[in-house]
């Protein structure tokens, strides 16, 4: 193998990598925040006794579960501006795609934890005259919250990985920076290896931290 490795040229571009990392973290953070809010709203709809709330919420979740993320990115970037008659930048489109997608997953995290509690807990509340809402707030949610931690971390982990799709809209995150550096340096081998390692470190650190938080929260 006669290939001459040269990581020096690539690593000299560290400001661009850093900028990309910033872009990745930015859309991840916004989408987590908005996704949790939207996810909670959809979960409420999915567990409602009113069919006109429950059915659309179910379709929403099923749709996102059964279509690839990249389709959402392209749809929000190229198709939505036509329906809604608005201008759409790569950042907005990426955040919209990530938020709506993660909302469907967070919805299932919330719902799954609530449904995992035994029916007796609802009955215990009802038997002393509590309303459904009081039981939910005082009895169900405090217990369900702990069960949400693990799946929540897992979904967030997936969301961070999915941010890489934003590069296909030329949004300046890690992978997009990498393609730019690769084009400048003609060193795809080194560039993509470096970017893979950056992701690995980022996500591995995240999962270590998350596991620690999870352990602290669930073993009180």
């Amino acid at each position: 193998m006669a290939y001459e490795w040269d990581f020096g040229v690539v690593l000299a571009q560290w400001p661009l990598f850093l900028k990309g990392l910033g872009g990745t973290l930015l859309i991840a953070a916004i989408s987590i925040g908005l996704g949790v809010i939207l996810g909670a709203i959809i979960a409420t709809g999915r567990m409602s006794r009113l069919a006109w709330l429950r059915i659309p919420a179910g379709i929403y979740v099923d749709f996102y579960r059964n279509t690839p993320g990249i389709v959402h990115f392209f749809w929000f970037y190229y198709a939505l501006p036509i329906v809604a008659d608005i201008r759409m930048g790569p950042l907005e489109a990426a955040v919209l795609a990530l938020t709506t997608q993660s909302a469907s997953f967070y919805c299932e995290v919330f719902r799954g934890a609530i449904l995992s509690l035994p029916k007796g807990q609802w009955e215990g509340g009802a038997a002393i005259g509590m309303t459904r809402f009081q039981t939910l707030r005082r009895v169900i949610l405090p217990q369900a919250a702990l069960r949400m931690v693990g799946p929540f971390i897992e979904r967030t982990f997936e969301l961070i990985k999915t941010t890489s799709l934003a590069s296909t809209l030329a949004y300046g995150e890690l992978l997009y920076s990498a393609t730019q550096i690769s084009a400048q340096t003609y060193r795809p081998m080194e560039v993509y290896t470096v970017v893979a390692l950056i992701y690995f470190c980022l996500l591995f650190t995240f999962s270590l931290l998350a596991r620690r938080v999870e352990r602290r929260l669930t073993h009180v």
Partner: protein, 261 residues
């Protein structure tokens, strides 16, 4: 008439196409202690759970203190359509307490908090007052030393006594016990039965679904034998256990009491 606190009329209950209760009528006078016995699948637990609307009735009516529960909004042939608002159900459950087979304590709350919960969130009492009541009730079930323990740290018998304290703290007019000792180890059954017995001596109105026929015999002022979703036979404990009229009742008692009576 009108000396009954709870009256059940033509109660039926179906799960899908499976009719579990096939028409039950019952008047309960204040201070009665009623034991409900019967084989598995006789519908005895379902019947009890209908009385505080843990299960919604398919047809029939329940009167509490002479007032019908729910609002009749129309008739569809013979079948009335009745609306039970969430508010009505909460009111009923304040007045009709229940103790479950599986305790259904709240695992994230201490013993004291479990008993205080309904007093504060449902009856709107102050924390201080709720605490006083809760401590008194827990003393009554001999758990005043476990106030700050969590349910998972208690034995099954202790957990069930907490559940009883939680129910009586609400000062219900009627208490329902749904097989309160069925999920307990044999050596823990006694302490729970003693607690229930003490409550009976206070003159409370109680309904108890149980397999402990010996206890039912000593405890109950009236015994109902349920078979196939109906009250097959009823009478005083003496009548049902010592001189049952129906062959089926006799067979059930003989089979179930070989060891316990």
């Amino acid at each position: 008439m009108k000396n009954h606190i709870l009256k059940v009329e033509g109660l039926t209950k179906s799960f899908g196409t499976n009719q579990v209760l096939k028409g039950i009528d019952l008047d309960i006078a204040p201070g009665e202690r009623i034991a409900i016995i019967g084989g598995s699948g006789s519908g005895k637990s379902t019947f009890l759970r209908c009385l505080n609307f843990m299960e919604t009735l398919t047809t029939g009516a329940i009167y509490l203190d002479g007032t019908r529960i729910g609002r009749v909004v129309g008739k569809d042939g013979d079948k009335e359509s009745v609306v039970y608002s969430p508010r009505t159900l909460c009111d009923v459950r304040k007045r009709v307490g229940m103790v479950f087979q599986q305790f259904n304590l709240f695992p994230h709350m201490s013993v004291l908090q479990n008993v205080m919960e309904g007093l504060v969130t449902v009856l709107g009492k102050s924390k201080g007052e709720a605490r006083q009541i809760a401590e008194a009730e827990l003393t009554k079930v001999a758990l005043h030393e476990k106030l700050d323990a969590f349910p998972s740290q208690l034995s099954g018998g202790q957990q069930q006594r907490v559940a009883i304290a939680r129910a009586i703290a609400m000062s219900p007019e009627i208490l329902l016990f749904d097989e309160p000792t069925s999920s307990l180890d044999p050596e823990l059954v006694g302490e729970v039965l003693r607690t229930i017995n003490t409550l009976g001596e206070e003159g409370r109105t109680m309904l108890l679904v149980t397999h402990e026929l010996g206890f039912a015999y000593r405890f109950a002022t009236r015994v109902l034998f349920l078979y196939d979703g109906k009250i097959h036979e009823q009478g005083t404990a003496e009548e049902i256990f010592k001189n049952p009229q129906s062959e089926r009742t006799r067979a059930f008692i003989a089979r179930s009491s070989e060891f316990s009576l």
